[in-house]
């Protein structure tokens, strides 16, 4: 087929092959590839050395730094706290007076409020410890007499006998 392509002489490839050049190129280009093995080994070795060095200096640092801190910081004076006193395991209750003792206190008291309070305790003591209703009623009557009109109001702490007397 005829052609008028004027570029054919310029762009048509001229077959040429240089076997020696190919061998040279192949040998030369193998070098950078082989170097990768050494590069990788060197990188691994460097990494290991760096790791060992880092571990060594970290170890030294853990010894040196606390020493430096210990020498640099001023001594701290710690005052010892006073030892707490031993707490008694059970509180000894105050000595409970007897009904007669309360009655005596009431007779010796000068204030009417005190008198009323001691007669009240004396009445409670007769009623609870001895179940002596007669004596208790007598002390409660004296309590009510000393307490006046204010003491006649019924309270929750009143014994049954005192409540009955107030009514």
């Amino acid at each position: 087929m005829p052609t008028d392509d004027d570029l054919l002489p310029l762009l048509t490839p001229r077959p040429y092959h240089d076997a020696a050049l190919r061998t040279t190129i192949l040998a030369a280009s193998r070098r950078p590839i082989r170097r990768r093995v050494w590069l990788r080994r060197a990188t691994t070795a460097t990494g290991l050395i760096a790791l060992v060095a880092a571990s060594f200096f970290a170890g030294r640092g853990s010894v040196v730094i606390p020493e430096a801190v210990a020498t640099a910081s001023p001594p701290v004076h710690v005052e010892s706290a006073p030892e707490p006193r031993p707490v008694p395991s059970e509180v000894t209750p105050p000595v409970e007076w007897t009904a007669e003792q309360y009655e005596l206190k009431a007779e010796l008291a000068t204030e009417s409020a005190e008198v009323a309070a001691y007669y009240r305790r004396a009445g409670d003591a007769f009623l609870k410890s001895r179940t002596d209703v007669k004596q208790a009623a007598r002390c409660y009557r004296l309590h009510l007499a000393a307490a006046g009109p204010d003491g006649r109001a019924i309270a929750a702490s009143d014994s049954w006998l005192l409540m009955a007397l107030k009514n």
Binding site: L10, L11, P13, Y16, L26, A28, R30, P32, I33, R36
Partner: protein, 182 residues
């Protein structure tokens, strides 16, 4: 895009080369050397010393930068040809600088054989990639317009039109390069 088996084989060769396996590299180069050599010699306009220098530099650059080759994006030979294209451009630029410093004697400068090849190389280097690719397919690979159209997924008319524009661009670049040499 390369077919699956080629991509897999290229990926294996790349892995071996990156691991420092020089024998695998030699096999790989052996399989792709011929088309790359043909491209470089054509791209250098048949100028032997230029082509030899470019071939050596191309393969050394490929060996150093093989990590950048992506088997999923194209075949190894195509990637090396891309490297060669840049190498030829750089070589021509360096020779131009060198030639400006060392002007040849007039009787040597008039040698037509030497100038034809260099002017072809200069003209091809000045073309856009698409123009160079269609000229390569037509003149180096010896493909018909119909085959090129089928490969590229274009109509024959589009390829014919592109070929005409590429020829015109080449002629203009060749004229400029040839006049600059003389």
């Amino acid at each position: 895009m390369p077919d699956e088996s080629t991509a897999r084989r290229d990926a294996n060769d790349r892995r071996a080369a990156l691991a420092g396996d020089a024998d695998a590299w030699a096999d790989w180069v052996g399989r792709t050397y011929a088309p790359v050599e043909a491209f470089v010699r054509w791209r250098c306009g048949g100028v032997k010393d230029l082509a030899d220098d470019c071939l050596q530099e191309t393969w050394l650059t490929a060996a150093r930068t093989v990590r950048q080759f992506d088997p999923a994006r194209g075949e190894f030979a195509g990637w090396v040809c891309g490297v060669a294209r840049n190498v030829v451009r750089n070589q021509l630029r360096a020779r131009r600088r060198h030639g400006a410093r060392h002007r040849p004697l007039p009787e040597h400068a008039a040698c037509p054989h030497r100038h034809d090849g260099t002017a072809v190389a200069e003209a091809l280097a000045a073309l856009p990639e698409r123009h160079e690719a269609v000229l390569r397919a037509k003149y180096l690979d010896g493909r018909t317009v119909r085959e090129i159209a089928a490969d590229w997924g274009e109509t024959e008319k589009a390829v014919e039109s592109l070929l005409t524009r590429a020829r015109d661009a080449f002629r203009a670049a060749y004229e400029r390069s040839d006049h600059a040499d003389r």
